[in-house]
């Protein structure tokens, strides 16, 4: 199969993300670790720092085991291991949204053992009420003030507007790319789409926008369509290794859409350009359908919408070991899609991937869909 050069570039950007960040630092600017899509990156971008998604992939936890028990989620354990192995030496700051007990616990532990990088806990509201939205806006305002002090730069309304426009542009382009996957023969695979989104989370947005623009104009004419047998949607949190989706696509499915933190949830909704910046940002981030605060019906509706729009034949629920919010939601989501007559498969995974076992299960699922 002929490779698309621009697509290759996204993969490369993602795989070399550490050097991208290190290069950025050479200009004297700061790098800020984020947990996406719940960290309002526009604030960081407006402060002229580079927001980068942190990943939680590790196969052993020899250093992390001194601080985190084996039943902490495997994302936080993996991330702790990476931090202790100084793989994130370039981070000046780590912003952690208080999403779940593992993240809250992780923050507390890190505060106790190190201030490099300095950790900042951002409240993420449980409710979608007017009070919650207002408090979240004030929390973002506090974060903005903190960033101004941390970076030593005043963040003006113009800076914020510019950040919002740049981010919205990225979101529009990503959405355009995703829409192409509605075609009978989707022009990109799930692995490729994931690489595009993951690279957006680690690359300066203006650069990413340029590349995306190019990709979206090329891809419509691409002829070497990958072939898939069953149209699948993956649902879950952040997939930080494209290999996870590769196992699925190697087993006879093609992923045409998703409900992932490192997928559509990262960019589906825009910030209202007309609103006051902080208000607009607050409203946008609070509406992400997630297990961290949305009513579960929002997640069900989002899933149903995606399934319809992308003509999905089956859903694969992906969960990292010990991830409580997603384990809870699966109880309800699994039943909801069943009631809708949408077949689904539940896969729990850890690194190193148990490829053989995962493959067998996906193959059986795809077989059933035929």
């Amino acid at each position: 199969m002929k490779k698309n050069v621009t697509l290759e570039k996204f993969r490369e950007l993602f795989e070399t993300r550490d050097s991208v960040a290190a290069e950025w630092k050479k200009t004297g600017k700061k790098v800020v670790g984020c947990i996406s899509p719940y960290t309002p990156e526009e604030i960081i971008y407006a402060s002229e720092a580079l927001p980068v998604e942190v990943m939680g992939k590790a196969e052993t936890f020899s250093k992390a085991d001194a601080y985190l028990p084996s039943f902490a989620c495997s994302f936080t354990r993996g991330f702790m291991e990476a931090l202790l192995e100084e793989k994130y030496g370039y981070l000046d700051l780590l912003t952690l949204p208080a999403l779940c007990d593992s993240m809250r616990g992780f923050y507390g532990i890190w505060k106790q053992i190190s201030d490099k990088p300095y950790a900042y806990l951002l409240h993420y509201p449980t409710n979608r009420s007017e009070e919650a939205y207002k408090y979240f806006a004030s929390e973002i305002e506090r974060f903005k003030n903190f960033m101004e002090d941390f970076v030593g730069k005043n963040i003006s309304e113009k800076d914020l507007k510019n950040a919002i426009d740049t981010y919205n542009e990225n979101r529009r382009l990503l959405k355009k790319l995703y829409w192409l996957r509605r075609k009978e023969s989707p022009p990109i695979s799930g692995v490729e789409a994931l690489e595009v989104v993951l690279s957006s989370m680690t690359t300066p947005k203006n650069l990413h926008n340029q590349l995306l623009e190019k990709l979206v104009s090329e891809i419509t004419e691409r002829e070497d369509y990958p072939e898939g047998e069953a149209r699948l949607l993956v649902s879950g949190h952040i997939v930080d290794d494209p290999d996870v989706l590769k196992v699925i696509e190697d087993s006879g499915g093609i992923i045409v859409s998703d409900d992932l933190d490192s997928g559509s949830r990262y960019f589906w909704n825009l910030v209202d350009h007309e609103a006051k910046p902080i208000e607009g940002i607050s409203r946008r981030y609070i509406r992400i359908p997630s297990p961290y605060g949305s009513p579960i019906k929002d997640r069900i509706n989002y899933l149903k919408l995606m399934v319809k729009a992308f003509q999905v034949e089956g859903i694969v629920f992906l969960t990292r070991k010990f991830c409580e919010p997603y384990l809870f939601d699966y109880v309800t989501l699994g039943q909801a899609v069943k009631e809708e007559g949408i077949p689904s498969l539940y896969l729990e995974y850890e690194y190193p991937l148990a490829r053989g076992a995962l493959k067998t299960r996906v193959e059986a699922f795809v077989e059933m869909l035929r």
Partner: protein, 404 residues
């Protein structure tokens, strides 16, 4: 072998019947046409419910009772068959088992008309309550309590306070009752009084020998959990304080010959409460304080400012506070209660109370030279629990503390 001076505090023995009455009160409430709410511990505030005539029930307490009665295994299985992962909170699995129709003590809890939750202890609270709301088709209200990273600030209190007022309006509407502010103030005053008495009871345990052990203390906290804000709770703690302080005056302790004074962190393993007797009898080691039981007496409430006080109480929860705060708290207790060692009970299905234990242990050892032991099991699920292994670890720890 150390001989136990007295079997237990009589006020603590009363609790068995208080628990039964508590569950019957919910049935009675429905008979009287009143509402029943299931709520998370400490907050949303009981004071509001008692003022509105809504009867509270505590799923966590129910899970604990079911486990002590050795009736939780079957409930776990019912939940797990329904799709609730074995890696999720065992309190949740226990209660969901009864919600789903598993064979449960007292035939299950009286069904709720409303579900009230927060996340001041854990985020799991909110997920658990949402799952129950889905299953029971019951309205749910959640108080969003921000985790404290440094100290409780005005914006935290204002936010929770605002939500409590919204909650009251919602409850007023659905129960068609108006909240009487004066009655609320009185409930807050009574709640504050009970908390103060409870703190005094716990303070008595600084005495040597210690007048009350962990088994009694874990039982005697029940009225704080279920009845704070009522006159009955105040009277209960007056009786308890009287009994415990009499013991102190008379020099009566849990043990005749107290050799070691321990501090407990974490939720007791409800399926193995004998663990405490074992330490008492074999080593003369008595738990003189627990972080768990102390949680219900953390805050002074100002009845002149009921909403602000209840908001503050919601926020000032040990698992909602930073590790630095816990460190200061624990090291203070070690000094005040002359503690020899700490036992931290981790629960694999309770991250909120367990995830920081390795770090706390390290800090206590390095900064204060305090020895501690971490056990890792589950607070309610005993299916993978090894009594022999836990006992061996306790034996080794007692040896470190100098027991022969």
């Amino acid at each position: 072998m150390s001989k136990r001076a007295r079997r237990s505090i009589s006020a603590a023995r009363e609790v068995t019947s208080l628990v039964a009455v508590h569950y019957m009160n919910a049935v009675q409430a429905h008979n009287e046409g009143r509402w029943v709410a299931w709520l998370t511990a400490v907050s949303p505030p009981l004071e509001i419910l008692y003022t509105l005539g809504i009867q509270p029930l505590f799923p966590e307490n129910y899970a604990c009772v079911a486990t002590v009665m050795k009736a939780s295994r079957n409930l776990f299985e019912v939940s797990e068959a329904y799709g609730v992962s074995r890696d999720l909170c065992s309190y949740t699995r226990c209660v969901m088992g009864s919600v789903l129709g598993g064979e449960a003590p007292f035939g299950g809890m009286e069904k709720p008309d409303v579900l009230l939750s927060t996340k001041n202890v854990c985020v799991v609270y909110m997920k658990w309550w949402e799952l129950m709301a889905q299953t029971l088709k019951c309205p749910l209200y959640v108080i969003d309590s921000p985790a404290i990273t440094d100290k409780i600030e005005n914006h935290h209190v204002k936010y929770v306070e605002e939500q409590l007022r919204v909650l009251v309006s919602a409850l007023e509407k659905i129960t068609e009752t108006n909240l009487d502010e004066e009655k609320l103030k009185e409930a807050v005053r009574l709640s504050d009084k009970a908390a103060e008495l409870w703190r005094k009871v716990l303070e008595q345990r600084r005495a040597k020998p210690c007048p009350m052990g962990v088994t009694d203390s874990s039982a005697a906290m029940f009225p704080m959990v279920a009845s704070a804000g009522t006159q009955e709770a105040v009277e209960y703690y007056e009786r308890l304080l009287d009994e415990v302080s009499t013991r102190v005056k008379e020099g009566v302790g849990v043990l005749e010959n107290e050799k070691f004074r321990l501090l407990l962190s974490g939720i007791p393993y409800w399926h193995h409460l004998r663990m405490f007797n074992y330490l008492e009898e074999k080593y003369g080691a008595v738990f003189v304080h627990e972080l768990y039981t102390a949680t219900w007496g953390m805050t002074s409430l100002n009845s002149a400012k009921p909403f602000e006080s209840m908001a503050y109480k919601t926020l000032l929860n040990p698992t909602n506070m930073p590790i630095r705060w816990s460190k200061n708290w624990i090291s203070g207790l070690v000094k005040d209660f002359d503690i020899d060692g700490i036992v931290l009970l981790s629960s694999r299905s309770c991250k909120a109370t367990s995830i920081g234990n390795l770090t706390i242990q390290k800090v206590l050892r390095e900064e204060y030279g305090i020895p501690s032991l971490i056990l890792e099991a589950d607070h309610t699920d005993d299916r993978v629990y090894s009594k022999a292994e836990a006992t061996a670890k306790l034996d080794a720890f007692m040896e470190v503390l100098g027991a022969k």
